[in-house]
Every structure is written in C-alpha cells, then in structure tokens.
Symmetry: C2
Subunit: 116 residues, 2 copies
C-alpha cells in the first residue's frame, strides 16, 4: 500500500522528495521539533498513528521512539495551503529532542530587538 493518491497529488515535495513536518504537542501547543517526510513516511504515519520520518542523516525511515522510547502518538495531521508543509499534533512520550530536552527549541534562544 502507498500513500492515498488524493493526498499524494496535493503534496509538493522539495527537490529531494521530502516535505518538512512541524511536530507540536497536541495539548500544550509546544513546538517539539521539525522532521522530514517522503510519501512513504507520511503514509506510515497516517496509517499507524506513529510519527514516522525520513532521516536525512541516516538515509532510512525512522519511527520516532523505536530506539529512545520517546514515541509520538499522532492525534491530528494537516497539510498547509501550498501542500508543501505538514503539521502533526502528537502526544509526545518523554523528551522530543535527542539531547534530552523536552523540545528541540529549548536550548538556543536568539535575542530579538524591541519591537517599534
């Protein structure tokens, strides 16, 4: 089985065949991480309810939590208006970040100048 052709037809992939997926904790709204999906990763995610990505560094599918136990149960999925970004709302078990932080955006805050 492959990704539903009606979804595949709306998906706009980058040159490498991948689409960015924003991953958000469904109840608190925390943005946890950004990962990448191809058609197969999206198909597996939608049909298993387990967030599944394409690892660009390892060149393989990656079922989040299979190694770490930090599973993402998918509660909601959507495409954006252009079909080139995915939003997943998940229930994150434990830390989302491989560093052990709750989210991948906790550690490196950038200073913003005062708004006018």
């Amino acid at each position: 089985m492959a990704l539903d052709p009606k979804i595949a037809g709306r998906l706009k992939r980058a040159a490498d065949g991948l689409v960015p997926a924003i991953v958000q904790q469904h109840d608190t709204g925390e943005v946890l991480m950004l990962a990448w999906m191809d058609d197969e990763a999206l198909h597996r995610t939608l049909t298993t309810g387990r967030a599944t990505y394409w690892s660009r560094s390892r060149g393989e599918y990656w079922v989040k939590g299979d190694t770490s136990g930090h599973v993402q149960w998918v509660r909601h999925a959507a495409l954006d208006c252009d079909g080139d970004t995915i939003l997943l709302k998940v229930d994150q078990v434990g830390a989302a970040c491989h560093t052990g932080d709750r989210t991948c955006f906790d550690a490196d805050v950038l200073e913003v100048s005062e708004n006018a």
Copy 2:
C-alpha cells in the same frame, strides 16, 4: 550590518542557503505557517522585530504584512538543536494565511488511523 557571526556560525543552511522558520502565535500556541529565511532575513527579523522571509516563489525579501497589513511582531526566536530550523513566536495581526484563514493549516486536514 550582517547577521551576528556567532549566530551565522551555528546556522545550518540547506543547499539553497535557506533555513525553514516555523511561525507560532505566541499566546495561543497556534502554528501559523512555515516560511524560509537566509542569513539576511534572519538578521532583519532579529533587529527589526518584524518577521522577514525570503520568498522562494518571488525571489525577494518579504516583510510579512507589508502588502496585506497582516504583520507579525516577533516576541521570541530560537534555533533548534541542530541549527537547521528556526522557531518564531509572534503576535500575528489578522490572518496568517494568504487565503484569509487564520493559519495555513486550517483547510486541509488529513485522516489519521486510530492509534493502537
């Protein structure tokens, strides 16, 4: 003036020189959109407090709201653990999406199978 070299040194850009920026409403936690930044767009964003992107379709800088009035005032910015994704928390004026929807993820919900 260019992007602070200490930030530029941590930034990991895609082959096209761009980094994805996740844009979130600072108080409600809604994920509004995803856009793209190069070093200069990030520099302008951090120093003006106005979200500024690189438009891949138009090939130009794009100060969100300059045409639509739908300005994004930046309240918080962070890099992720790998330095290859930016998270902006903003105060969004009006609709974030060019379709008139509040967010770019409102219109195209994907069905997810029941979790096991």
